[in-house]
Symmetry: C2
Subunit: 326 residues, 2 copies
């Protein structure tokens, strides 16, 4: 099969065997894969991952011991935990039901397991979610980042906040703003790029320039930049909550006294639950399709990831060649 | 009266009038004042405060419109809020009962109001707390930092943690460890200074060297250093809570991705409630007296603050000359 791997900070094409089926797992033919900033960070050295990247996908099951999965259109949770790894004794986190923090976890396309920039991938069946029939591939490929946005709903009691600021106007910020907007409070996106802010406004989200003077009780930082945390801290009212979403390779200088003096709570937020994400797609409460900038065929992944880093470009997708029946 | 002010990064002695009595306020003769790391940071430029520092004190009321306060031994909350400032319309925070974050606040010896490195100070009566008769001056002078330690009990549900790590072995870390120890969980202090760790052990607190490999669900950072946050992050288990206590003048380089990837909650913690602090002193559940390194007479404040910065020195107190009766 066609796949890509990370070599010396770049994607390299390769011909590889289709991954073999393991007990309790499924082999999935990838239909669409999404390029995320984390993939770009991986090329820069994040996690020192040297295999096939890609953790946003929609595909169809082509091999599975449990025959009812065959042919199903699926998305997949990316953290492969004790259960998926077939460990008899679960780790402390899996026992507590927090399998996204499994001590032994591998992460699709990020840590120790080949990802979705390939014609086929494998995942444990327990990681898979069936895609509702009214949700298109172009919507379903957003399930993973949408789930990450939904994680905020699990961590913060939105009822305590009439308003929320989303700092950043990129791909993840756009999804977060849409999820929060669907969940209730008035959402304002603060960003630098007029064309991206305009995209948010079309979804009913208020926007403002990032140097806005207002103080917020809840700010979600999704700039993807090293300076996002400091910027977000300056936007917060005393006793406010800051949800931190950006991961990047490197460090930033930070004055920490505002956290203490204003008694800010900073909440790190990573992967989230797929069920509410798929439900939002199914019910049409969030439509991520306007965020798609361009679709490349899989074999042009190198050009696609270059394109994804261009100014103003939002989500770039990789499409696997259709398999013709017969 | 004798007092000290900050001039060009140093304490300077001066002769000043006794502050005048305002309606709703009291004039307090300072008996003992404590030197805190924040005072040292103020000399380094923190808050650009150029008046009389000192926010830890015990004293006696010498002037007050409400005569029942005269002669009472008191400690005082340091945040002077809308109520104390006599504002008719309370700010948003005061209305919500969070007067420590009052928008208009002045802070004794830190922001806009002269502090306790003087023979007399003034505070609104609503800031004062009577010292229980069985609590000595040497204990009562710790009420303010003990209250700051008690703030943690308001912010974190300790029942969710069987163990807690206190990072740092200085004055505030020692008080925090004692308060947490009194509150229930097993407390381990992680520090660099054997003689300070020994002091904690005498109070029944476990100790370890700071490079200990264990992962904790709750870490209180009280190093007073720019690197404390990064160190504390490395000690935390996924979904762990980090209480941040250190304030200092300056910035530190920080990799923020562990906060996101491990979904850490960082909770800033500043001033706290005096009532539980005084109750702990009254009931003998916390005894801070072993932390006193030396008592200087007030007029030697310059030497005292120099001494307070020496390696191994814990709490340094300033004692005002006794007023002889008659």
């Amino acid at each position: 099969m066609l796949s890509f791997v990370v070599r010396k900070g770049k994607l390299q094409i390769q011909e590889e065997r289709i991954p073999r089926l393991r007990p309790g797992w499924a082999v999935v033919r990838v239909r669409l894969a999404g390029i995320c900033n984390t993939d770009v960070e991986i090329l820069r050295g994040y996690h020192e991952f040297r295999r096939t990247p890609g953790h946003e996908f929609v595909g169809e099951v082509v091999e599975c011991a449990d025959r009812k999965w065959i042919g199903r259109r699926v998305v997949g949770e990316i953290n492969i935990s004790c259960q998926g790894l077939g460990r008899k004794a679960k780790c402390d986190f899996c026992r507590r039901g927090i399998s996204t923090h499994c001590e032994h976890r591998r992460v699709l396309g990020i840590i120790g397991h080949d990802g979705a920039f390939a014609e086929y991938l494998t995942l444990p069946v327990c990681n898979l979610h069936k895609v509702p029939s009214n949700v298109s591939d172009e919507q379903a490929v957003f399930a993973e980042p949408l789930a990450a946005a939904c994680e905020i709903l699990e961590q913060v009691d939105l009822r305590a906040h009439r308003e929320v600021a989303v700092l950043g106007d990129g791909k993840l910020a756009q999804l977060i703003a849409r999820v929060l907007h669907a969940a209730g409070p008035r959402v304002t996106m603060l960003g630098k790029h007029e064309e991206k802010l305009a995209l948010a406004r079309k979804a009913g989200i208020a926007t403002a320039k990032a140097n806005h003077k207002k103080r917020w009780t809840l700010v979600v930082e999704a700039t993807g930049s090293a300076h996002g945390l400091e910027q977000a801290l300056a936007m917060l009212a005393p006793r406010g909550t800051l949800v931190l979403k950006s991961t990047f390779h490197g460090a930033a200088r930070l004055e920490t006294w505002p956290i203490v003096v204003h008694e800010i709570s900073v909440v790190g937020s990573r992967c989230g639950p797929f069920r509410p994400a798929l439900k939002m797609l199914r019910d049409g409460r969030v439509d991520p399709r306007p965020l798609i900038s361009r679709v490349f065929p899989l074999h042009e992944a190198v050009a696609a990831i270059r394109h994804a880093q261009r100014r103003g470009v939002m989500k770039v997708l990789l499409k696997t060649q259709e398999v013709l029946p017969g």
